[in-house]
Amino acid sequence: MMIEYLITILLIASIYAIFALGLNLEWGFTGLVNFGHVAFLAIGAYTTVLLSLHGVPLFVSVLVGVALAGAFGALLGIPTLKLREDYLAIVTIGFAEIIRLFLLNEEWLTGGPMGVCGYPRPFEDIITGDYNLFMLSVVLSILILCYFMLEKLIKSPWGRVLKSIREDEDVPVSLGKNVFVYKIQSLVLGSMLAGLAGSLLAFYLQYINPRNFMPIETFYAWIAVVLGGSGNNKGTVLGAVILFCFFSATRFTQEYVPLHPTQMGALRIMLIGLLLILFMMYRPEGLFGKKEELML
């Protein structure tokens, strides 16, 4: 029983780690204030699931989901990445809400508030043993792949330009770099990672509906990134793990605490909000970040 539980925690934590890594690329490395990250989680999830239900091979469905998430990232970014950070924050949050409204209302496509279920999962028929264990190994492999790919990108010349954009946009501009294109690339790649996480999330949940893609999901990614130290991939992954261990721990204590599940849920998010405030006030470099690296 304990093992099963652990597998579940690691599974969901790893999926959110991929999600958060995408945000870390956008915010931690490029300085983009994206409050709409969940939109791409949703696009990846719904695209994969709907395509596979229409007979498209699973692998292709996932690829299309990822690509579409990236495309929407570009769609969002092109008119808005030139905006000041606070405007970008407002606009991205609006974007995510519009996407969610679309998912909620266009029943003919998305199933509306009832969502989508009954879609195939990778290698479902073949795996005889513990499917969750199999999923975990798949997700972990993907996470490790993404992590190393990102680390490589960050250390490359491309990554260095991103960091200089985060520090002081005027510098790369004066060096003749097309800052806008770099920002778009960062947003697209981050959105693709979110889309990938979305597909994996859909497989894990086996049933998705718009309630899985509320704004709070974006801020789970934010707390993971802030906790781990913005611009620190290792920290982001650890942040996601800590976050979900914390969630599970509170579920454990549920039996011993005289609180209604709704209250426990609310208490959890209250703590997240508090952590966000406290970290930004007193320890903006997070648990594992470096103070010098901060541009705040």
């Binding site: 606070d86 809400e97 997240i272 966000l276």
Partner: protein, 285 residues
């Protein structure tokens, strides 16, 4: 039909306008977008509910208590969070993220204390009054009257009181205000009082109009920001006009769009303003 939408639009718009005034003033003076503003709106609505339904106060009294308490919490937050951050010269993005933390905290505190289900005030349900083809409910009339009264009050404060003039001075140039010897912290506290009080009133009115639920303020956030930016950040009169316009646009849009997409209308206006004229229609470049 259109006339009814017009009425609904003005009612909704005045609620958005009241909330946007406080948001705009804080944005203009403290130079950051307060994402928690919507949740203070919710907070005000819930406080009034608690005193009205749980403690059995008369509704008006409950509202007064809510306004005062919400304003106090707003000032408390300035002491505990915003002022220390000002002293550290905190970056705009830091403040925004902190405000998100506050938003999450307040919203879920409300759920924790009073649950996530829909609530209503202990008021008798009255029939609407018919004016030809349109029906106006008593609540709607109260809303418009209260909203107009509040806007006039804000106008009076800004134009006739010393502290109000100081608020306008700070919105113009906070550095010059410091240099002139103005007690900037004190003026900022008063700005929070006015902003939070208005948010509370706006929340109560919205609770009257629709119902009371933990997400009510959060769902008005986008229209509030749209109104603020449309009217020019830091311009309370712009926020008033912007709010009415957004409310009208949202309600009138239901003639051609499904009503669930009302928020998309606010979003569209927001994007258009930001891309074409970011200083807003009443702002100066």
């Amino acid at each position: 039909m259109l006339l009814q939408l017009l009425v609904n639009g003005i009612v909704l718009g005045s609620i958005i306008a009241l909330a946007a005034i406080g948001l705009s003033m804080v944005y203009g003076i403290l130079k950051f977008a307060n994402f928690a503003h919507g949740d203070f709106l919710t907070f005000g609505a819930y406080l009034a509910f608690v005193f009205n339904v749980v403690f059995g106060f008369y509704f008006i009294l409950a509202c007064a208590v809510s306004v005062i308490l919400t304003a106090m919490v707003g000032v408390g937050c300035d002491y505990a969070i915003w002022r220390p951050m000002r002293m550290k010269n905190a970056n705009r993005v830091t403040l925004i993220i902190i405000s998100i933390g506050m938003a999450l905290f307040i919203r879920n505190l409300i759920i924790f204390m009073w649950g996530a289900d829909i609530k209503r005030y202990a008021l008798p349900v009255k029939r609407g009054i018919e004016f030809g083809t349109i029906i106006i409910t008593q609540n709607q009339i109260v809303e418009i009257v209260v909203a107009v009264a509040c806007m006039l009050l804000v106008h009076y404060i800004l134009k006739k009181t010393f502290i109000g003039k100081a608020m306008r001075a700070l919105a113009d140039d906070i550095d010059l205000a410091k240099v002139s010897g103005i007690d900037v912290d004190r003026v900022i506290r008063y700005t929070w009082v006015v902003g939070m009080a208005l948010a509370s009133v706006s929340g109560i009115l919205y609770g009257l109009l629709a119902n009371i639920n933990p997400n009510m303020g959060w769902f008005l956030l986008l229209p509030m920001f749209a109104a603020t930016i449309l009217g020019g950040i830091g311009n309370p009169y712009g926020a008033m006009a912007g709010g009415i316009m957004i409310g009208l646009a949202q309600e009138l849009s239901t003639a051609i769009l499904p009503p669930e997409y009302k928020m998309a209308v606010a979003f569209a206006i927001l994007i258009i303003v930001l891309l074409l004229r970011p200083q807003g229609i009443m702002g100066t470049s």
